[in-house]
Structure formats: structure tokens, C-alpha cells
Symmetry: C2
Subunit: 305 residues, 2 copies
């Protein structure tokens, strides 16, 4: 039910994803079945190919995350997380209230033991054609050095297993390339990353390095990541409005990636963009599948044991 | 002497600016006269139209700012600041070592009484055609709420007097528009700005609002401003490399603005981009002239009295 174009975009995305899933992979649609079953029939798709869990509450995009998730136990987000926690689902994705999705993940499946704070990860298109990741992009507005160090490990594991990047290059977002540049946070994080054996650290990168190949994984606090991500998105929207067609800018389209995985919780969770289209929903489902299939969560659990 | 294309770009920029200055405005070129006088003659310009101060030391782009400015008293930066301090210059601009320029400003003409920390300001092109400012963009990697509040006042005064924006709208860069969004710094800054009578506060803006008209002045800590600025610059470079011609992207060209003013010190100071071209140098000089002509420094001093 989540997202500005729900439930239609979600239904059409689920139908598109179903074509790509193997027979032993089952999609469960959670929400107001009275609303979306007719849409499935309308699209000429057999409704029996999905499983359904009916819910009749909706968490609005503007609602307070923590309150909403407890006050609306029959919302698609609350129900989804209950099923995930009980192991009845292997992954959970929604384009609904991002805050409720984050809070729900931590309260239901809980943070992986050893992880200080879970974080939100985003895909970044590279000029050379590849794709990298940046994290955190908004789950933790204030971070400490040891948290950033862990984000590096989480991003590296995601890049290696889900994105199949061999020995990912991890960098710290900073205001200069030199070791001694930075604010108090990045200055304190640098030596931790330099000495770590959790990932391949390649040093500091700057705002201008987001789209080049200096790093596959760029680590920053959630405040910095959020403002950078939103600035990058606004550029993409400018190019769209101006009718500029270019392969690189096309790859900015979040629809092609799906959503933002929550890394550091005990199950695959993906938070979609509020304006998720059918294509975005389809890719969010495929991304969930990849997170399950590659055993990312188990690999994260093992790394932090 | 400062900048990657010095002294040629500096000489050509000075010649171009000279055409636009009135007879009572005098340009002083500081550096190795043996190197740049022949360039002036070569350009077919009368060398007597400039004043000269000969220097024979150069602070390299990679040198440690504080050490360099004291160890090289006969560098163009050190000499320029001495002349500025003695009142023999009304403003000083250089495309040399930015750190040395910042340190030099604070050590020579000193911070305006009442100002906690001077900061670095940058021009931001607006989609609608105007230009706004963002500050700080790198002078203060770590900031406190009262420092950000002052940046709002400094930016507002610059926008009002130098950019001639009437009653400038000042906003706080944040991770959400709502009052209660943010990291510890922005959460603590918001109420200070909301209650201030130093400027017109219009609330929080996000990374996506940099180029729209929600605010004329966007305030952030120097870490955030620096990574945002460098990301924006990298987009401009991508559009250049891809041969995308567009009026909006053209206005990203820093050459059209000049350089970054240092706000909060007792004299007009402008730090140019390391890759300053003749056009950038010319505009840096015109920007210095505007800072002198509008009495910006006196207005800042009066506001913080």
C-alpha cells in the first residue's frame, strides 16, 4: 500500500516482477485486497499467482514513524514486519513512510548483533558505466567514527555480494583527499578505516568523486549522504525537465535500482522512493530477491560475530 | 601569482578588468614583476596603468597554509595581506593556496569584532535565472549553532548589498523541511534562526532546493557546504564533457562569478578557484570592487557591533 502511486504502481510492479521470478519464489502482497485485487484482474493477470495478506490501516507519508507503527498494527508496514519477524517472509519492501519502515525494521527483526546502527544505502551511477553505493543516506543524522567504520563494512559486503563487485573500494566522503583533511568526525574515522581489515579502504574522496571510479562504496554520516543524494536527484530532474537525453543521466533514475536497502538488520529490507513507479517496484522486488539469494544478511551476521 | 594558470591568466584578467574600472580605481599586481611585465607588453597593454609590488616567493598549492604564510613573508599572499592590513589596499584577491588565503585573512586584517568565525561563501545559480549564495563552503569543517546563525547574517548582508537582493530569504540546509528534522547541529540551529531579527529566516531546505527559489541564502557547516559545492561542480563538468549546452548549466561556470568571498574579516577578501582563467580573475576583481563600493565590510561591522 506504500507510496504515492499505491496500490496501482505496486500491483503493476509485482506483476512485472512475477515474470522474472522462479516458480519457487513467491510474492506476497500486503494491503487492502479489496483495492488491489480488481487492479490485478484489470491488468489481465491471474490473481492466484500472488499470496495476499489483507490490512485495513494505512500509515500516511506525514505521520510520525514511531507512533504510527505502534498505533496502526494493521497497517501494511506493521503487518509486513510481523511476518518478516516470524519468518513467514524472507524479505520485506515498501515505498511507504520511510521513517516507519526504518523504525519497524529495528523494532521487529532487530539490529544484527555487533552492529551499532543500521543504515540506509543508495545506488550511485558511475560515469564509466558501473554502479556504486553511498551510505548512510539518512537513517543516522549524527554518527560516530565506529559507526562510519561499520557502514564501510556493510557497504562493502553489499557491493561484493549483491552488486557482485570484486574486492570493493571503500572511501570516506571528506573535504579533501589528504589524510589530515576533514571535520572532527572524518578525522577520527580516517585512522580507523586505514587500519581496518574489514574492507579495502582507498582513502578520502570529495563531493566531486561521487560519479568517478575512485571508490565503489562511499561512506558518510546520514546528514551528508542525505543532502548529497537529494542534490544529485535534483540534477537528474533538471536534465529531465530540460529534455536532455544522455545515458549517464538516464542511469540516475532510481526506478532502475529499486529502492534503498536497510543494512545491518536481521532480514532483507528495502525502502522504496515515495514516488515509486511500477518499474521501481519491480526492481525493488528483484533487489529483495538478490538480497535473499546471495545470503547478504547471513554474511553480515558472520562478519560481525 | 596565485592559481594554476598564473601569472598569465591573472595578467589577462587584470587587463580585462581595467577596462571596466573607473579612473579612480587602481589595480595593484603583486608578484614576480619580471615574470608578468613582459606578458602585459605582449598583450599590447600599457604596463603603466597598473601598480606593482614585487615579490619573489611563492606558496605552492600543496603547502601547509599556516606554516607557509609565516615562512614565506615575501610571497604574494603574505605581502598582499600586509598591504591590506596597512590600508594600502582596499581589497585583496588571489587564486593561490586557499588555506593560506584564509589563514592570512584572519591573521592580518582579523575577524570582525563579534563574529565567531569568518566563512567562505559561494554563488549558486538558480533555475529561474537568479543567483543565490551558500555558506560556509569549507572554512569551518565543524560549526556550532551560534556560528551558523552568524553565517545567516553574513550571507544575508552579502546578498542584500553586493548581489542587490532585497530582503534575502535565508534557509538552513537540512535533511527535511519540517522544523523537527535534522542532526544535532541543525536541530539546535533552527530555533536560533527562527527567533532571530538578523535576517529573514524561511526555514529548512534540502539538497534538492539548492537551485530553486526557496532561499537566496543557504546556510550550512563548511563540511556540508564543501561536499555539496564539489558535487555541483562535478555535474557542471559532466555537462561540459558531454557537450550539453544549456543556459542553466552555463551559469554554473564559476568563472562568471569570480571567486569565493571571505565574510567576517575586516576587509574585502576573495579566494579564487585554483584553475582561475582570465575571465574568472576579471570577475574576481569586479567582485572585489563591488565589495568595496557597497561598503559590505562596514555594514557587517555595524551589524555585529
Amino acid at each position: 500500500m506504500g507510496g504515492d502511486y499505491a496500490p496501482k504502481a505496486n500491483v503493476l510492479g509485482a506483476i512485472a516482477a512475477h515474470e522474472l521470478l522462479s516458480p519457487d519464489e513467491q510474492l506476497v502482497l500486503i494491503g487492502d485486497t479489496a483495492q488491489f485485487k480488481p487492479l490485478i484482474v484489470e491488468a489481465g493477470f491471474d490473481p492466484d499467482k500472488f499470496e495476499y495478506v489483507h490490512t485495513d490501516e494505512v500509515i500516511g507519508m506525514g505521520e510520525h514513524p514511531t507512533k504510527a507503527i505502534f498505533q496502526k498494527p494493521n497497517s501494511s508496514i506493521a503487518v509486513g514486519y510481523n511476518l518478516l519477524k516470524e519468518g513467514k517472509l524472507d524479505s520485506f519492501a515498501s515505498a511507504g513512510n520511510s521513517g516507519a519502515m526504518l523504525v519497524g525494521a529495528v523494532f521487529s527483526v532487530k539490529t544484527v548483533p555487533g552492529i551499532i546502527r543500521p543504515c540506509l544505502c543508495t545506488h550511485v551511477p558511475k560515469l564509466s558505466g558501473g554502479v556504486g553505493v553511498m551510505l548512510d543516506v539518512g537513517a543516522n543524522a549524527d554518527c560516530k567514527p565506529d559507526t562510519l567504520l561499520q557502514f564501510g563494512a556493510l557497504g562493502s559486503l553489499y557491493a561484493e555480494h549483491v552488486m557482485q563487485i570484486n574486492n570493493p573500494k571503500v572511501a570516506l566522503m571528506n573535504i579533501g583527499e589528504e589524510d589530515e583533511k576533514g571535520n572532527m568526525l572524518s578525522l577520527a574515522t580516517f585512522p580507523l578505516m586505514k587500519d581496518t581489515c574489514l574492507f579495502q579502504f582507498v582513502g578520502n574522496v570529495e563531493g566531486r568523486d561521487l560519479f568517478n571510479d575512485k571508490a565503489d562504496v562511499i561512506v558518510c554520516d546520514g546528514f551528508t549522504g542525505n543532502v548529497l543524494l537529494k542534490l544529485a536527484e535534483s540534477f537528474y530532474i533538471v536534465t529531465l525537465k530540460k529534455g536532455i537525453k544522455d545515458e549517464f543521466f538516464d542511469r540516475f533514475n532510481y526506478e532502475n535500482y529499486g529502492g534503498s536497502p536497510v543494512l545491518g538488520v536481521n532480514a532483507p529490507v528495502i525502502i522504496g522512493h515515495g514516488i515509486s513507479s511500477p518499474l521501481a517496484v519491480k526492481n525493488m522486488i528483484m533487489q529483495s530477491r538478490d538480497m535473499i539469494a546471495t545470503g547478504l544478511v547471513e554474511k553480515i551476521q558472520a562478519a560481525f560475530k
